[in-house]
């Protein structure tokens, strides 16, 4: 397989396996550090495929499925916090022999994982990118986190298939997604059918187990943790992305942080291929 294709694989840790999607040269053959990515929730590294490929032309890239999501094993504990998920990722990379310096990127719920990774291993992290990170948890986020431990129903009539489909649909159409009022209208339409379908599949994979990391991210107290970051950090967000209003605060809380408003308006599945390539270049330029 060529370096321009996605390669999938598993990293073994004591409590299970962490699944990844990678592209680019093998880390050992590259002058640039491996870029490790942590995705948003719910979903998996599948939602990073286009960005992985866009950035892999100049550096090795590996996007990990957070434990409990995509094809990774569930977390070992129901009450796992973001530090646990960062630690699991670190152990997984150790098991793969990845011990050199890394660049780390976290998107949405992956941003707290990336933050904890950088705080736990400052000597291991070259540069950190926080993309679409939220600030202090709102009352709404706290309430949301408490509903997540009621595991999504799986039944013999397949209710979960329609639930997953409509939950994702409405997340593109309203904010908050479960309050479908004119006042909550988002300006976007739906992503391409292929990207949308693939995203629903990834959500369904983690239906029983994704709540642990999602709840930990929703409760993450970023203002108390971000000041502990000691590596060069880029705080970035797309203008129409949900956490855009938190960008200034995130950038202010991280010592010596650089701020970048992304060149495109939309993020994730809603961004076009061309916009993802431009984003990859902008982020790559900062990483060097």
């Amino acid at each position: 397989m060529s370096a321009a294709q996605i390669r999938r694989g598993f990293l073994d840790i004591a409590e299970g396996q962490i699944h990844f999607r990678a592209a680019g040269r093998e880390p050992a053959q590259s002058e640039k550090p491996l870029l490790v990515m942590f995705h948003g929730a719910p979903g998996s590294s599948k939602q990073f495929e286009r960005l992985v490929l866009a950035m892999a032309s100049v550096r090795p890239v590996m996007a990990l499925d957070t434990m409990g999501m995509g094809d990774s094993s569930p977390s070992a504990r129901e009450d796992a916090d973001m530090a646990y998920f960062a630690d699991a990722a670190g152990r997984a990379l150790d098991s793969h022999g990845v011990t050199g310096k890394l660049d780390v990127l976290g998107h949405h719920e992956g941003a707290p994982v990336a933050t904890e990774f950088a705080i736990a291993w400052p000597a291991r992290v070259n540069k950190l990118i926080l993309d679409g990170m939220s600030a202090a948890p709102t009352e709404r986020a706290r309430g949301y986190a408490t509903t997540l431990d009621k595991r999504a129903p799986i039944d013999q009539v397949g209710s979960q298939y329609f639930d997953a489909w409509h939950s994702l649909r409405d997340a593109y159409l309203f904010r908050p997604a479960d309050q479908r009022l004119a006042a909550n209208t988002l300006p976007s339409g739906l992503p391409s059918l292929e990207l949308f379908h693939a995203h629903v599949v990834e959500i369904l994979k983690g239906l029983r187990t994704s709540h642990t990391a999602t709840a930990a991210a929703a409760l993450y107290d970023a203002p108390t943790r971000l000041p502990f970051i000691s590596v060069p950090t880029l705080a970035t967000c797309a203008r129409l992305d949900g956490p855009f209003s938190a960008l200034d605060e995130v950038a202010r809380l991280v010592p010596g942080c650089t701020k970048l408003i992304q060149p495109q308006d939309n993020t994730g599945d809603l961004a076009t291929d061309e916009e993802i390539r431009a984003l990859g270049k902008a982020l790559g330029d900062w990483l060097g």
């Binding site: 397989m1 999938r8 396996q17 699944h19 799986i154 397949g158 239906l207």
Partner: protein
């Protein structure tokens, strides 16, 4: 403990489930388990785990099913899947093994056993039978139809309904009294995982399925098997009515019947029966 792995061949990645990896150099040859369509190696997890206690077990997903890459050829025949399996086994360093196959997996296993006899020590065929030309033609025509795929989410209903009806009717697309099966519906968890496999491979799952239906018309391949063969089937399996006919066609044949049928049998109980014969 079962682990998931990927191996790379020329056309992409093959995903497999494995147990007993640490027994690579053990007394028993590796055992390769080949699953039925339209499932994946996951459907053989219990058997993988049970057999993995004594040997290295490898349960790959067929091309286009589970997490394996799709075929790169239009209308591939069973030999295409057999050749891909051999390249996969080369990639993980397996030159000779025991083979187990059920349904589509049985057809791939027979193809490899006949064309690469030096690579196969013993063969277990689970649920091998004879099907009429009419059923094969009708089944293939049905599987060849592209499932719906649209913004209405029609594929969600298609995937779940298809998964469910595999338990309730045979063939699953003939939903009248004459084709009703009498057995428990799968658990919510199992239906979820099965429908999810169909959903994510909606455009590729059919290839191995179709190849299997064209693989052994009239059962002509059974006579070509040169290895010791265990011909096993559940007493409620769809193949039960032709079980004895198949047994007469296989030169070196040991027959075994077990209660139940492929989808619902407790695989850990049949594992002991398979292990005993393989190790005799």
């Amino acid at each position: 403990m079962i682990k998931r792995r990927f191996a790379t061949i020329d056309i992409g990645q093959i995903h497999y489930w494995t147990a007993g990896e640490d027994k690579r150099e053990g007394a028993h040859p590796p055992l390769v388990l080949l699953h039925a369509s339209p499932f994946s190696g996951r459907s053989l997890n219990a058997l993988t785990e049970a057999m993995g206690r004594s040997r290295w077990v490898i349960a790959p997903d067929h091309l286009g099913q589970g997490d394996s890459c799709p075929p790169q050829q239009r209308d591939p025949e069973i030999e295409y899947f057999g050749d891909a399996l051999v390249r996969f086994l080369d990639a993980i360093g397996v030159t000779k093994s025991d083979l187990y196959g059920t349904s589509t997996g049985g057809h791939v296993a027979m193809d490899v056993a006949i064309r690469y006899p030096e690579r196969v020590r013993k063969l277990i065929l689970d649920g091998a039978g004879l099907s009429s030309e009419q059923l094969r033609t009708e089944y293939v025509a049905h599987v060849r139809e592209k499932p719906p795929f649209d913004y209405n989410g029609s594929q969600m209903l298609w995937a779940f309904q298809t998964a469910k009806d595999m338990y309730l009717f045979f063939p699953y697309y003939q939903r009248d009294a004459a084709h009703r099966r009498t057995r428990d519906l799968a658990s919510a968890e199992e239906l979820h995982l099965f429908a999810l496999e169909l959903l994510r491979n909606h455009d590729t799952y059919r290839h191995a399925y179709i190849a299997a239906f064209g693989a052994n018309p009239g059962g002509h391949k059974y006579a070509k098997l040169s290895q010791p063969v265990m011909h096993a089937a559940g007493t409620k399996d769809g193949s039960a009515s032709t079980f004895d006919q198949v047994a007469k066609m296989i030169p070196d044949c040991t027959v075994r019947r077990y209660p139940g049928s492929g989808l619902t049998v407790d695989q850990s109980t049949v594992a002991g029966m398979f292990a005993e014969w393989l190790d005799a």
